[in-house]
């Protein structure tokens, strides 16, 4: 088991290497210049050129890339060009926000998404199934930023139930205010996930319910609830866990938009800020972190696999 995980982690190294080269290239392909952004609109061309030289941006791309790699090798992600702070500390400050948001969103998503899927499958082709599928379709297709704005208008402005924006850290206000500041964005973020997961779970459950071993369970005299919860559910989880990895990755991606709408100071906003300012080290560093997160998520999914499906076991 441990060896298997270490192997997967080492396989991640070339993946991240290629990924970071791509991020680097893409950033430099973007028109615009961080030196201009730093110097301000009124700066003379000479001043801009000077800043450019200071930052080392006048050197060939390949040199810049190799230099970045050599710093990475010793764990140095570099200094942000615009924030006057290291990339590590900038990310470190904002990571708890995004992690909290993703966590709360996941906690909302899993029971509702999987639950709806199971219910729809069990009563397939009934009105329950039809409604669940309509809701799932809405969840998948409604854009998060639009639902987010409407939600703020209604729940925060009209009803005043939740703060419209901002984030209260766990360490400051305790669980209550922390959750209050997150529940709205988390639910909006979860809508897509719930729809996606409900559809996947439904089709997986339908497959399982048609299997011979379900008939075997019924032939033993097992009641309907046990048939579903014991015999069908774990088999349903096998394909669901597979897409769960994708869902989690989407959760991180979705947070970029949602953090913007709800003014949450998380990684998503940091990236947007970095891209707008052409803050190369910042964007490269955070993107690398995202890449790493995806790899870890996928390893987690593989581990969950071995728990759910006895046919998959690390040697």
């Amino acid at each position: 088991m441990f060896r298997g995980i270490m192997m997967r982690l080492s396989q991640a190294v070339p993946v991240l290497l290629i990924f970071s080269v791509m991020v680097f290239m893409l950033m430099h392909l973007l028109p615009g210049d961080p030196a201009l952004a730093i110097a301000g609109p009124d700066a003379s061309p000479e001043a801009v050129q000077k800043i450019r030289e200071q930052l080392g941006l006048d050197r060939p791309l390949i040199v810049q890339l190799l230099e970045w790699f050599s710093h990475l090798a010793v764990g140095n992600f570099g200094e942000s060009l615009t924030l006057k702070q290291s990339v590590i500390s900038a990310v470190g400050e904002r990571l708890p926000v995004t992690l909290s948001l993703s966590f709360v969103s996941l906690v909302v998503t899993l029971p509702i998404g999987i639950g709806l899927g199971v219910v729809a499958a069990y009563w397939r082709n009934s009105w329950i199934d039809a409604w669940v599928m309509v809701l799932a379709l809405l969840g998948v297709s409604l854009p998060g930023f639009w639902v987010g704005i409407l939600s703020v208008l209604y729940f925060s402005v009209q009803l005043g139930w939740f703060p419209p924006s901002g984030y209260v850290p766990l360490t400051e206000g305790g669980v209550g205010p922390w959750l209050a500041s997150l529940i709205q964005p988390a639910v909006v973020l979860a809508l897509f996930q719930i729809g996606f997961l409900a559809r996947i779970t439904r089709s997986a459950m339908l497959d399982v319910l048609d299997q011979d071993f379900i008939r075997t369970a019924r032939a033993k005299g097992v009641d309907e609830w046990t048939t579903i919860s014991k015999h069908a559910f774990r088999n349903t989880l096998i394909p669901v866990v597979t897409v769960l990895g994708i869902t989690l990755s989407l959760l991180v991606g979705g947070s970029v938009v949602i953090e913007q709408v709800f003014a949450l100071p998380g990684i998503g906003r940091l990236i947007v800020q970095g891209i707008l300012n052409r803050d190369y080290p910042l964007v490269q560093g955070t993107m690398l972190l995202f890449g790493f997160a995806f790899v870890v998520i996928n390893i987690l999914v593989d581990i969950i696999y071995t728990i759910v499906d006895p046919r998959v076991r690390y040697g």
Partner: protein, 331 residues
């Protein structure tokens, strides 16, 4: 036969298909005595499996209309029994094993759990006792190294072993009746013989009645005392096994018997029954076998034949042949 253990009376099962309702089982009646082995033979699509599934009400609920007729068991009608009581019958008094052992066991549960579940449900034993009994049952179905095997998952076992596990599950609560739906079809020939031997021994030891469904006449000859032949959803002939092999009444039974390859005769081509089983949604006037029957008469295409008595314990759905037989007996 005194009072039969199970008596199926005029069972009719209809399915919904894209082409409309079709009758998969058409007024089938059968009886199984205590400790008796009844064989049901027929081609795929003859309705034999559906008949078996309907006894335990395991047919697909979404596409099947509730079967009509009566299934008498222990003074009750299984077709109208409340679900709760039906669940006590399933696995407790009437157990079933299926065709494909590769897919009939749950891949994420251990053997101990899957055998033990029946015991816990029907006999209320605790987990530890259930596991102990599971090992005994694995021994009984001749799985070597049962104490180790019991904690394994189905994917570690071969097809033959899995079918043994299915049998262990089925006999766990000492059912009075075992329905075996093509239990050897998916297995290779040597394993088939072992499984049949096992079933026969268990039947004797436990005194169960068995309904064995198959399309293999050889299996019937070895296993059953009485046989029922089905064609296109109807019973066409019932007879004691020996008599059916010696002297089949219905031309379809005759066709099935001539289609068995004989080891001592060198043939280039196996005899077959011309044509194929009719589309279940098709309406065939008269005898359903008439389009394929080599001895078809004018009346066969016109009148729907009844199941007629053709000697002691024998019935056949072929008026011309039954009449011919009667004449012979008189003469």
């Amino acid at each position: 036969m005194a009072v039969p253990l199970l008596e199926v009376d005029d069972l009719t099962v209809r399915f919904r298909t894209d082409a409309g309702w079709m009758t998969a089982v058409d007024r089938v009646s059968l009886a199984v005595g205590e400790g008796e082995a009844l064989g049901i033979v027929g081609e795929s699509g003859s309705g034999k499996s559906v008949t078996a599934l309907s006894i335990l009400r395991l047919h697909a609920a979404a596409t099947t209309r509730m079967p009509t007729g009566k299934i008498h068991y222990g003074g009750k009608d299984l077709l109208t029994l409340p679900t709760r009581e039906m669940r006590q019958i399933r696995g407790g008094e009437i157990a079933m094993i299926f065709q494909d052992p590769m897919s009939s066991l749950n891949p994420v549960l251990t053997i101990a759990d899957q055998i033990g579940e029946s015991l816990r449900l029907h006999q209320g034993v605790d987990q530890a006792t259930a596991r102990k009994r599971a090992i005994e049952l694995l021994d009984l179905v001749r799985i070597p190294d049962a104490a180790r095997r019991v904690d394994e998952y189905p994917h570690r076992l071969s097809g033959g072993m899995r079918q043994r596990v299915m049998i262990a599950i089925a006999i766990a609560c000492r059912p009075k009746l075992l329905i075996a739906d093509e239990p050897t079809t998916a297995l290779d020939v040597t394993i088939q013989a072992q499984i049949l031997d096992l079933l026969r021994d268990l039947q004797r030891e436990l005194g169960m009645s068995v309904i064995l469904i198959t399309h293999d006449m050889g299996v019937i000859a070895e296993f059953a005392r009485r046989v029922m032949v089905m064609y296109a959803g109807r019973v066409v002939e019932t007879a004691p096994v020996g008599q059916m092999f010696r002297r089949p009444v219905h031309p379809y039974t005759e066709g099935l018997l001539t289609a068995i390859p004989k080891l001592d005769v060198d043939v280039r081509r196996l005899p077959t029954i011309a044509g194929s089983i009719p589309d279940p949604t098709a309406v065939i006037p008269g005898c359903r076998y008439s389009p394929r029957c080599p001895q078809v008469q004018e009346s066969c295409r016109r009148d729907s034949p009844a199941l007629l008595p053709a000697g002691p314990e024998r019935e056949a759905r072929c008026p011309p042949r039954v009449a011919a037989m009667a004449k012979e007996t008189v003469a």
